[in-house]
């Protein structure tokens, strides 16, 4: 096998939320179709659009590249709600899913673990977080016969504590943003170890309970995104105002060549290909030539698992505060920077206890709907940070404004809460009647003809 100077680690996020149908206060109490999506942004329509522009052509190209270059490697995270949409949306969904299956079948692609619902559950409930990871890994196993060993949290939300929890769950590594603020002079192009922290005993118990394997791997490593080289492709590729435009493969390969370190971690949204950067920008041609151009310069490819096997960590990175890969701030402000988001998040996670305390009566669908309401995108649409400038949050939102997003969300949640209350009340009633009926039978058995009247 050829010896490379360094390797590229590609990771693509693949996700589609279940956008909420419009819901006004008059529908609360009899809303049934929460997740069709608002008018003109029906989830099915968006899925089809993105499938045609991105998933299908990019997957076809990936398959071509993987078979042409046996040394080419990629990795993906496919959110549970994305996979469900594949299963739900007919022929085109099946095509998308099949093309991903084909990619993983090559053995040159790795699938990563995440929370099934692309949620912010870590911030509110460790148990919920662990349950969603388990649920996600089960679906991945069912669909792809793979067992993920590397974890990436929603939008790369990360801190020391998350790393420790994930390590305790039995994963071998985790992905995070390579943000200068924490790295300082250090390069993201090496492996690191997370700064060790003590988990709350209760949190550690939960992590152990939901372990993905019996024995813990002896090492746990951190892969950091090279955000400059990643964003050159993901955000700047077609920006004519950028001094480096147009980005030719040759130029980009030269940049990769001149970057120091072992591994260049290029993490990006999969929709970079064909959706954020349209086909006419030349993004597909760029990708098509990438493997050979890069390998010409003696740069290879590795999946995250291969990367952590191949290299040793060069040090520890201490990230005490929550960090993500979103926006300029790289913090949680995309989802948690105003009162709308805060009150919506509080309210949805407040339901957890009620649902789980009545687990016997709560059906799967109710639980599933509650979790779909946790998807981070709902809160992203409520962000007012750049609203005045009409920035990316507005671009990616199916709602007219953050206020419309909030109103629809809260009305839907109100309807959901009502359904939970009704269900619990009904099952309480059922079990009470059941108990009385049993009593009547037992009395009859011992010779009493009981005429029990229930006074409510």
């Amino acid at each position: 096998m050829k010896k490379y100077n360094k390797t590229i680690c590609f990771y693509f996020e693949v996700h589609q939320p279940y956008r909420l149908s419009k819901c006004n206060v008059f529908e609360v109490g009899n809303k049934s179709d929460y997740f069709e999506g608002p008018p003109d942004y029906e989830n099915k329509k968006i899925f089809e659009k993105v499938a045609k522009k991105c998933y299908l052509p990019t997957n076809a190209l990936m398959l071509e590249l993987l078979s042409k270059h046996p040394e080419f490697r990629v990795s993906y995270s496919l959110s549970g709600v994305f996979l469900e949409q594949c299963l739900e949306f007919g022929e085109i969904g099946k095509q998308v899913l099949d093309s991903f299956k084909a990619i993983f079948k090559t053995g040159q692609a790795e699938i990563l673990s995440e929370t099934y619902y692309h949620s912010l559950s870590w911030l509110f409930s460790k148990e919920e977080f662990a349950q969603q990871i388990r649920k996600h890994d089960e679906l991945v196993c069912k669909l792809f016969r793979k067992k993920p060993t590397i974890f990436r949290n929603t939008e790369l939300i990360y801190n020391n504590e998350i790393a420790e929890f994930i390590r305790e769950m039995g994963f071998k590594g985790i992905l995070a943003e390579g943000w200068d603020y924490y790295l300082d002079w250090r390069s993201p192009n090496f492996l690191y170890r997370p700064h060790p922290v003590d988990l709350h005993p209760e949190d550690r118990r939960i992590a152990k309970e939901y372990r993905v394997r019996r024995t813990l791997p002896k090492d746990f490593k951190l892969l950091l995104k090279n955000y400059k080289l990643s964003d050159d492709v993901a955000f700047r590729f077609s920006n004519r105002g950028w001094s480096e435009w147009p980005l030719t493969m040759d130029k980009y390969a030269a940049w990769l060549d001149s970057a120091g370190g072992n591994t260049i971690n290029l993490f990006m949204d999969y929709e970079t290909f064909g959706e954020h950067q349209w086909e006419d920008t030349g993004i597909f041609d760029f990708l098509r030539h990438l493997p050979e151009e890069v390998m010409k310069r003696n740069i290879g490819f590795k999946t995250p698992s291969e990367t952590i096997k191949a290299y040793e960590p060069v040090g520890k990175v201490d990230i005490p505060h929550l960090m993500s890969w979103a926006d300029m701030e790289r913090d949680l402000s995309a989802w948690r920077s105003n009162e709308l988001q805060e009150s919506a998040l509080q309210r949805v996670f407040d339901i957890e206890h009620k649902l789980k305390a009545n687990a016997d009566h709560v059906d799967d669908e109710l639980m599933h709907n509650w979790r779909k309401l946790q998807t981070s995108d709902h809160f992203y649409y409520m962000c007012t940070k750049y609203w005045n400038d009409g920035d990316v949050h507005a671009y990616f939102s199916p709602f007219e404004s953050p206020y419309d997003a909030f109103i629809t969300y809260m009305n839907t949640l109100a309807d959901f809460e009502q359904k939970v209350e009704e269900l619990i009340a009904r099952s309480l009633m059922d079990s009470t009647y059941g108990a009385i009926e049993q009593l009547r039978i037992r009395l009859k058995n011992v010779g009493y003809e009981a005429n029990l009247i229930l006074n409510s």
Binding site: N24, V25, F26, N338, E339, L340, E342, S343, A344, T384, W387, N388, G390, E400, S401, Y403, D404, F406, I407, M410, N411
Partner: protein
């Protein structure tokens, strides 16, 4: 630059937004080092307080200009009446004949003003003539004949905004004549610009969109005296005319009250739809929850805002709509119709189609139910309005003057 401006109303005497806007524009222009001569139909002593070295208020009647005979128009028309009252008026005219109303005729006033005011073009040094709406456009046309300086016509509202589908032909003709004669036309919103192109055939290159701003708030009222502490207050403040959609406000109130009982709907303002609106409240059976506050002046306006939890402007057609900005300045979140120019300017507002009663009620209830929504709207919109200023907007007006001067 010296500007000869023809205005129709000015604080403290004003019946609508035109006077307020005119005042802001004048201040903005002066703030940018311009000299303004404003000619008004009548200058009262209270207005004189604004008079300064760079700003002169001139009374049309004192121009010394002779009254030229102009054709006697055939209808009386209040600029802000509804089509209903206009039709009633026409019927009355047919019965009684036009002579009875001679003298009370708005068109007469407009022509008399034009003849007298334009005489200032001879006496006052100026570089540009600035007129507001059809009321003073004629004065601009005549002034330009005298001084041959470029004429910039500022359109705050069109006949289509005021009367819906039945525009008064005479008003329309005067508007159109003004726009055709003007060297540049300033529209108060993109929405108005589209109307000018569609209904008046004004070429796009001739129009500049300059949004209105709002003067810094001087009110010291804070939310204090609720009618009842637990009752929420939803406010309508504007003329009771078809254009402002008070009937849609009531329909929304009815819908809200089906879901939330402890809400009071305050309707402040007067107008020819007043009777109809009161009757409608009774017919809808919500009169207990609807309070009519009448026409509010000065401090009363600030007090009304300070008591409100939400301001609603359900306008059917609103070229701009400055009231929501005042509401925001007074710490009230706003819900505005998409059929308003203001919705081009304020992003941190709730927006609905004026006819979409369910959605309007939905949004009203949401604000009343969720303190987070109320406070976010309130603080974010206040930040937005703070950044607006007449001084900034006046720069765009001066830009328009520049274009008028170079196209000469």
């Amino acid at each position: 630059m010296k500007i000869l401006m023809f205005g129709w109303e000015f604080p403290p005497i004003n019946s609508g937004g035109l006077g307020v806007a005119c005042h802001g524009i004048v201040e903005g222009l002066i703030g940018n080092g311009q000299h303004v001569f404003l000619v008004l139909p009548k200058v009262t002593p209270e207005m004189q307080m604004f008079d300064s070295g760079v700003f002169k208020l001139l009374d049309a009647h004192e121009s010394g200009g002779s009254l030229k005979a102009v054709d006697v128009p055939s209808g009386l028309y209040s600029p802000y009446a509804t089509m209903e009252s206009y039709r009633q008026f026409l019927e009355k005219m047919e019965k009684e004949g036009a002579e009875h109303l001679y003298g009370g005729n708005l068109f007469d006033e407009v022509y008399r003003y034009a003849a007298q005011a334009s005489a200032y073009a001879k006496q006052v040094p100026h570089d540009v003539i600035h007129t507001h709406d059809w009321l003073t456009a004629e004065a601009g046309i005549q002034a330009k004949r005298i001084s041959d300086k470029p004429h910039v016509m500022h359109v705050h509202a069109t006949e289509f905004d005021r009367s819906g589908e039945y525009p008064n032909q005479h008003v329309y003709d005067m508007e159109r004549r003004g726009m055709e004669h003007a060297d540049r036309v300033i529209a108060v919103s993109e929405r108005t610009k589209q109307m000018l192109m569609k209904h008046y055939g004004v070429p796009e290159w001739k129009i500049d969109v300059v949004h209105n701003a709002v003067k810094p708030n001087s009110s010291t009222y804070h939310k204090a005296h609720h009618l009842n502490d637990s009752d929420k207050i939803v406010l309508f403040l504007g003329r009771m005319t078809m254009q402002k959609g008070p009937d849609y406000f009531l329909k929304m109130a009815k819908k809200v009250l089906e879901k939330r009982k402890r809400v009071k709907f305050v309707m402040a303002g007067d107008g020819d739809m007043m009777q109809q609106v009161v009757r409608m409240a009774v017919e809808l059976g919500i009169e207990r929850n609807v309070l009519f506050a009448g026409f509010l002046k000065g401090d009363e306006v600030a007090r009304a805002y300070s008591a409100a939890d939400l301001y609603v402007m359900p306008s059917v057609s609103e070229p701009f709509g400055i009231a929501p900005l005042e509401a925001i300045q007074n710490g009230v979140p706003v819900l505005i119709s998409k059929q308003s120019g203001i919705s081009e300017v304020i992003r941190n507002a709730l927006r609905v189609d004026f006819w979409d009663i369910d959605e309007m009620a939905n949004k009203v209830i949401s604000v009343l139910d969720h303190p987070a929504l109320h406070s976010t709207l309130k603080s974010k919109s206040a930040e937005e309005v703070e950044r607006m200023s007449w001084k900034e907007q006046a720069k765009h007006i001066i830009g328009s003057y520049g274009k008028a001067l170079t196209s000469e």
